[in-house]
């Protein structure tokens, strides 16, 4: 009981406090989710509590250092050996790649579209902390000072990992493609069939939704980013189709795919800056630079998904900006 100039102020009861804090939480959530009004507050709080994350990352670092110490010279020598043998192979491939790139640029010139420019990329270290249960996020030890931006693609040596979802001053958060709140526009590498890959919350599964039974998609198909929407550049591997279930009671196929990026290996990631011209080409004229794009029409006769479609050379239509 407080006494301030004759007024008696009682400490609020447990229930009152709970109701007040519930209202506060709800308004915070609304502000955060609907309008992103709390970016600055969150950035400040993140800096304030960063030490907790640093402490939580210590065990893995120490463990890694101990393993390095025990294996020491031998593993280093073996790794150097492996890298040395790998390098000529990669260089040889690169030679071919350069020739193909030149050829590609030439063909584009003939078509009158701007050429794909190599993207700028930066290696970033991951801070080894666990994410919230059922979310798939990682903390990157780079922030606005390094030029990161919201929605920036995060890739590794094998494929797309996710995108930057929160930019702090010194560290940022990236949401992986398996996060239940994430979706990425993809296309089947084999025939250009467009789809969306949704995260599921499981560590190694994305689901492809809204494809009808007549869609030409098979287990083992590689899905690459389609570049539609402008967030991700075109052509990075995303996932491999694992299983297709065709339930006649459902309107769409139930397709699960396994991400090709090593999502659970917490090492380094690549942050890429897609160049403007790439986005321009992909957003405006995707049909011209791809193989004949299969159009999905509801009037198509139903046929089993396994039968490969004959290649029909359709007049290339400009793709609508929306995702199928």
């Amino acid at each position: 009981m407080l006494q301030i100039s004759g007024w008696q102020i009682r400490a609020p009861s447990n229930l009152t406090r709970f109701v007040l804090l519930t209202l506060l939480s709800v308004s915070l959530m609304l502000l955060d989710a609907r309008g992103h009004h709390l970016q600055k507050v969150r950035a400040g709080l993140t800096v304030l509590f960063a030490p907790i994350q640093v402490v939580a990352a210590i065990p893995i670092r120490v463990g890694g250092a101990i393993i390095d110490f025990i294996h020491g010279d031998e593993s280093l020598r073996a790794e150097a050996e492996r890298l040395r043998s790998e390098q000529p192979i990669l260089l040889a491939r690169l030679q071919k790649y350069e020739a193909i790139e030149a050829e590609n640029a030439h063909l584009r010139q003939l078509l009158g579209t701007s050429a794909l420019v190599a993207e700028r990329a930066v290696v970033a270290e991951l801070l080894e902390v666990a994410s919230e249960p059922f979310r798939r996020t990682v903390v990157i030890a780079k922030g606005a000072n390094d030029g990161l931006y919201l929605g920036q693609p995060v890739v590794d040596a094998y494929g797309i990992r996710g995108q930057v979802s929160e930019v702090g001053v010194l560290q940022s958060t990236a949401i992986l493609i398996t996060d239940p709140g994430h979706a990425i526009p993809v296309q089947v590498n084999r025939n250009g069939l467009r789809a969306i890959a949704f995260g599921t919350g499981a560590p190694d599964t994305v689901s492809i939704r809204y494809l009808t039974a007549s869609s030409d998609i098979k287990p083992g198909d590689l899905l690459v980013s389609s570049g539609i929407g402008g967030g991700f550049p075109f052509g990075y591997p995303v996932a491999k189709v694992k299983k297709i279930v065709n339930d006649p009671n459902e309107s769409f196929l139930d397709i699960t795919a396994t991400p090709v990026a090593q999502l659970s290996h917490n090492r380094e990631v690549l942050l890429i800056w897609p160049t403007k011209s790439v986005l321009h080409v992909e957003a405006k004229k995707p049909a011209e630079i791809k193989k004949p794009v299969q159009q999905k029409k509801p009037v198509e006769p139903k046929k089993p998904a396994e039968v490969p479609r004959p290649t029909v050379v359709e007049p290339a239509k400009p793709a609508e900006g929306a995702i199928p």
């Binding site: 447990n14 406090r17 804090l21 249960p133 599921t200 499981a202």
Partner: protein, 163 residues
């Protein structure tokens, strides 16, 4: 120790919550993640039961907000869930103290499950709900851990002379 009684109490309680927060984001192999107990909830339930006048809804809300910041979830999400736990625990702390240990553990299961379902419901509203059933495993693991954690925290409280 030259620390006053009240300062020492605050230090010990804050340190226990800090350890719980670190354990919540300590990296483990991915397949174990669905079995990660809700450390913050466990520590919170203990202190709300032992010292309901000192640790209550306000503490719970602040710790939950820190958890939101560390997890990168919506601000207020875990704060709301943790203050629900604190509210219920403080409301029933007299009954809880009388319960045998296993019965307390069952209540812990219910409290953590309520916490998880509330978070899941909020996530669903925000369109981020996971398509998996494993959101109830943390509450079971928390229940199994409760008897041991209770003994550890009780010893800390007695040695630290926290009241």
């Amino acid at each position: 120790m030259s620390l006053g009684h009240s300062a020492r109490r605050r230090l010990i309680i804050a340190a226990s919550f800090l350890v719980a927060l670190v354990l919540s984001i300590l990296p483990w192999p991915v397949w174990t993640e669905q079995f990660r107990p809700d450390w913050v909830a466990l520590v919170l339930i203990y202190w709300c039961m032992a010292l309901p006048a000192r640790v209550g809804v306000g503490t719970a809300w602040s710790v939950g907000l820190i958890l939101d910041v560390l997890y990168g979830s919506m601000l207020g999400e875990n704060a709301l869930a943790k203050s629900l736990i604190a509210f219920l625990t403080v409301r029933f702390h007299l009954q809880l103290r009388m319960f045998p240990r296993w019965q307390q553990a069952v209540v812990v299961l219910l409290l953590v499950a309520a916490n998880n379902l509330l978070v899941l419901w909020i996530k669903n509203l925000a369109g981020q709900a996971p398509s998996t059933w494993s959101y109830l495993t943390p509450s079971i693991v928390s229940m199994l851990l409760w008897p041991w954690l209770f003994v550890i925290l009780r010893d800390i409280r007695r040695h630290g002379n926290v009241s």
